[in-house]
């Protein structure tokens, strides 16, 4: 955490809205990338992003600077994203067709075009159990260390590593034919 960020956090804790807005601007892209990968839906990801920052605003006074601010934000975003997945799963069981999005629709910028492989990769990641998916995204795409992920999820480092390994093995198996 750099000095400027520390100053912004102190000001935001004291109720300074501008400082909070600057923190939002700093982290919007990282948080959006995570919420988008987790929900697989752009609209939903934007909602989760907004909810994440609102929750952060409400709780920032209680933020103890033991953990880094980014880990703290990641934790909020991760929990919100998991809630969306859980809600979606519950709604999919309801009989009256109120399920908002049964299958997430991805809209990824794909370096090789909207190929079959790209779709298959997204589908495979999406089929991972939510917690493995979260660990995989945080590690592979957000490039966080296992220690940071363990801190975010409040789990042991070995648990996180096991989750990552399982996720990788599942992806390997699913994508074998496409590589």
């Amino acid at each position: 955490m750099d000095r400027e960020e520390q100053a912004l956090i102190s000001l935001a804790k004291a109720g300074d809205r501008r400082a909070f807005d600057k923190l939002v601007a700093r982290y919007k892209d990282k948080m959006f990338a995570l919420t988008y990968r987790m929900t697989g839906d752009r609209e939903e990801a934007l909602d989760v992003l907004q909810e994440t920052f609102f929750a952060a605003f409400r709780a920032i006074r209680g933020f103890r600077e033991e953990a880094s601010f980014s880990s703290w934000l990641y934790r909020i975003a991760a929990n919100k994203s998991l809630n969306v997945i859980k809600r979606r799963k519950i709604l999919s069981f309801l009989p009256f067709g109120t399920s908002p999005k049964d299958e997430p629709v991805y809209n990824m910028a794909d370096a090789v075009g909207q190929s079959e492989l790209s779709d298959k990769i997204q589908e495979s990641i999406n089929e991972l159990p939510p917690k493995q998916k979260l660990v995989f995204n945080l590690r592979f795409y957000d490039q966080l260390s296992f220690v940071e992920i363990a801190e975010i999820l409040d789990k042991g480092e070995s648990t996180v590593k096991t989750n990552y390994q399982k996720a990788v093995e599942k992806l390997q198996k699913k994508l074998e034919a496409y590589r």
Binding site: F54, I121, Q143, Q172
Partner: protein, 182 residues
């Protein structure tokens, strides 16, 4: 080098898959580990091809707008409640106190002995018992003590006093008009 341990370690490195010289030497010798490594490299390369479209400025503007509205509503509600409490807090507290006192006949937080059950040592049963005066018939006790004094002469109330526990004595002194009997 333990192949299982090495393969596990490689899996954990997916995303930043590199090997040192010692590991490279092992890969050259071990076909199984080499296959695993190649498979991970291929997976890494495939996964890196899928990059989500970044948040656009217009999308962020919408998010920020909604966030501002939410925060303002939250702050107004919080301030409104605070102002309301400052303005009407004293009156609300006074009404609450009056209601409480009228219902429970005591001041909240202040112990009222007359209302609180107490325990005492009963010389009759030899046990600790709950002192409950609700069953005492004032008229009957007055008459009984009066009769006792009448039969045993002036000063015999001391005998009554000896038989009473401190709580019972206090009850008699506080609650029953005994005149000069005790």
């Amino acid at each position: 080098m333990d192949c299982n341990f090495f393969k596990e370690s490689l899996t954990h490195r997916l995303g930043a898959l590199t090997v040192n010289a010692e590991e490279q030497a092992h890969l050259e010798k071990c076909a199984e580990c080499r296959r695993w490594y190649e498979s991970l490299r291929s997976l890494e390369s495939s996964l890196n091809k899928v990059i989500p479209e970044p948040l656009t400025a217009s999308e962020f503007a919408v998010v920020q707008d909604k966030l501002d509205t939410k925060i303002n509503r939250y702050l107004n509600r919080a301030t409104g409640f605070y102002q309301l409490m400052v303005r009407y807090g004293v009156a609300v507290s006074a009404v609450f106190m009056l209601v409480f006192i009228s219902i429970f006949s005591r001041i909240p937080g202040v112990e009222n002995n007359a209302m609180t059950p107490e325990f005492y040592y009963s010389s009759y049963t030899g046990e600790i018992e709950l002192f409950d005066d609700s069953w005492i018939d004032d008229q009957y006790v007055t008459e009984a003590v009066g009769d006792f004094v009448h039969s045993n002469g002036i000063g015999s109330s001391d005998l009554v006093i000896d038989e009473l526990s401190p709580e019972e004595l206090r009850y008699l002194e506080n609650n029953i008009e005994l005149g000069g009997l005790l």
